[in-house]
Symmetry: C2
Subunit: 404 residues, 2 copies
């Protein structure tokens, strides 16, 4: 594979979303990413969604373009081999990403005795060493309590594993930043990140901690409304639901113009004695604004206004299920250069995304399927660990490593 | 500021979440990040949450540790100055992050005539050039339709701007990857990313597109359940709600052991004729499993089992509001080295997060407040553009630039 990171080699010991995503992101930028797993596959090897035959669409989705080696990690020789893969020489190697519980032989202290300039990025649960997953971090920082219909008291958890996706992309940044630092100073290092801290930091970054500490308020549920300005979902004449945005002054004016509601809104402003040009005023009076706009949407189907909305540059979208989105949206198909239809062995042929980045110097690379477990065991032992053929054969015979 | 990226200079022209987050992430790793804004502040300068005085806690949260320059961008000399700041010489400079609608003078083609090795990372709405925000991208790819109580038909949008947070962190990776490539080849480039493509790619990466295309199914709402294995929220005796995880075999066994439900679950397995050691079986039979476990939680308060859960290494958490989380959780306070209490001028003193990264080679840097708008105008014109003092004075006098 070409790509801006061509020449870099990263070793990944992982499971689930964040670190597999980090490794794949690097692979899709051109790095040689080696994922090692125990002989029977990692904890995520059969993670749902799965096909009718039990093959994991999830695993296939998060390991595209990597090389796979399967090793018995309980065997001392297996552990030695992993150490040699992680610490193999090369100016652009010695980069290790993990979210496994690393202890003893696989911790930074031990590994760096084999390669002092090792860069190791570890994603942990929380700072106390406790396990955590997206599903537990999210309730603990408060998002489900602020999600869902106004007035409801039941918490609603997000379905997208957002904290994992954020943490995984941060792991990429942390690795690239530490590698840059190594190039200038010669020094490797351990980079640690916890899923809980990623969420805690965003809570502060978005002003939510300040809102509690300075304003002394708790944010109530606001339904599907855009927080802090105007943005609302509407049910249309045909039952379709749309999301319409009036976040900026320009979006707000555009929305009034295309719906012909400028006069009605001016009357509302007179009644309120307040200008709705102020985003905070739009937020506070959102229920009144929605009252004015709702009948307009209720009497039209999106097909009747879509063209006018596009022409006016309105920021809006329809709500639809995953299946409808995949069926209807060319942006989720090979019409979008992000996607290629490709054959994932054991699963089938379907639209698969490459990297969302478009690097002008290298162009877009089409996606590469995920490996079969152990598909590259032999070649990695030869080209990275540089073992002679006979020894590789013995490792297979003794069951210390496995092929696909 | 110290940090692994010390010496790097990044210029940011941005508003809202993603690119401000990207710039701040780089600043918190030690880069000199210069955010330029129009004289009255960018589109996000008064974004909610705000204090009673209308100061944006959001802006303060997403611009920590940057330098700020305020320039009249409608003035040709103002545009020239921004060009000079973006394209200023220096091996570790010439790095530009933006989500502004760049056209003409601020597009890559024009800017790179001033500095051919410029690296410019642009975040756009969608590949058709249409505007998009987190609130529109999310419904369009299907997540709100799959979120919320089982059986309900109303879509529920997430409150965390997850796509923005993901895209912002990707912008960091894209910039670092392109800068690495420049160091090796001498070539700059334009790196483009769209918010819609970031979401589209994750839909594929998580196996959801495959689920539709290969299995032909649409994912229904599953409430707060962990998808594909076992994980459920329970209401406890005191009305508290907890999330409990049985994703891995180890978590599942631990949960049964600490609740004393192993025998009951074995009876259920006999009845079902299926082993619940299989994560897919746990998912399919989650309602039955929950039926067995619910009375246990309903008859206890979390205080009664928290210690036993911790001792057993159970993966779990409580649900709580933002305010309760901030009040009760030491991880969201300066007890956690991630946070420092600091004074944000104009707003007040509260716990502010630094970088969630812990880089062993550089140690943790405490967070630095956000600048006042234009706080560094004078020094940036002197140390980056290298204008003589007299000319800087004239720019202030003519109202082309502004200080804090």
């Amino acid at each position: 594979m070409m790509g801006v990171l061509k020449g870099m080699r990263v070793v990944e010991g992982s499971a689930f979303v964040a670190i597999p995503l980090a490794g794949m992101t690097l692979a899709q930028m051109g790095a040689d990413v080696i994922r090692f797993d125990r002989l029977e596959g990692g904890l995520d090897y059969t993670r749902w969604p799965v096909t009718q035959d039990g093959r994991s669409l999830f695993w296939a989705g998060l390991n595209k373009g990597k090389r796979s080696i399967a090793i018995d990690m309980k065997n001392p020789r297996g552990r030695e081999l992993i150490t040699e893969i992680i610490c193999a020489p090369g100016e652009d190697a010695g980069l290790f990403l993990t979210n496994l519980r690393v202890r003893g032989w696989m911790d930074y202290e031990t590994l760096s005795t084999h390669r002092p300039d090792l860069v190791m990025v570890s994603l942990l649960g929380d700072r106390h060493g406790r396990p955590a997953v997206d599903y537990t971090v999210n309730p603990s920082v408060g998002f489900p309590d602020a999600t869902g219909p106004e007035g409801s008291t039941d918490p609603v958890a997000h379905v997208l594993p957002a904290w994992d996706c954020i943490a995984g992309n941060m792991a990429v940044s942390g690795l690239l930043a530490a590698e840059r630092h190594r190039l200038r100073t010669g020094a490797g290092q351990s980079v640690e990140l916890t899923l809980k801290d990623v969420a805690a930091a965003m809570l502060g970054n978005l002003g939510i901690i300040g809102e509690v500490a300075v304003n002394g308020v708790d944010r109530p549920k606001g339904g599907n409304a855009l927080y802090g300005a105007y943005g609302q979902d509407f049910v249309c004449a045909d039952g379709e639901r749309v999301m319409v945005i009036g976040l900026t002054e320009r979006q707000w004016r555009g929305l009034l113009k295309v719906t012909g509601m400028a006069d009605r809104m001016a009357a509302l402003e007179l009644e309120l004695g307040e200008s709705l040009s102020d985003e905070g005023a739009r937020w506070r009076h959102r229920a009144r604004i929605t009252q004015v706009l709702a009948p307009w949407f209720a009497s039209r189907a999106p097909a009747e206004f879509a063209e006018a909305f596009e022409a006016a540059g309105i920021t809006w979208s329809t709500f639809r299920s995953f299946a409808r989105a995949v069926r209807e949206d060319p942006d989720l198909s090979p019409e979008n250069p992000l996607f290629s239809e490709l054959d994932q062995p054991g699963i089938g042929r379907y639209a698969v995304p490459g990297s969302p980045f478009s690097f002008s110097a290298e162009g877009r690379e089409p996606p590469v399927p995920a490996p079969a477990l152990g598909q590259h065991t032999e070649e990695i032992l030869a080209d990275v660990v540089r073992l002679p053929e006979g020894e590789i054969g013995r490792l297979f015979d003794e069951g210390i490593v496995k092929g696909a």
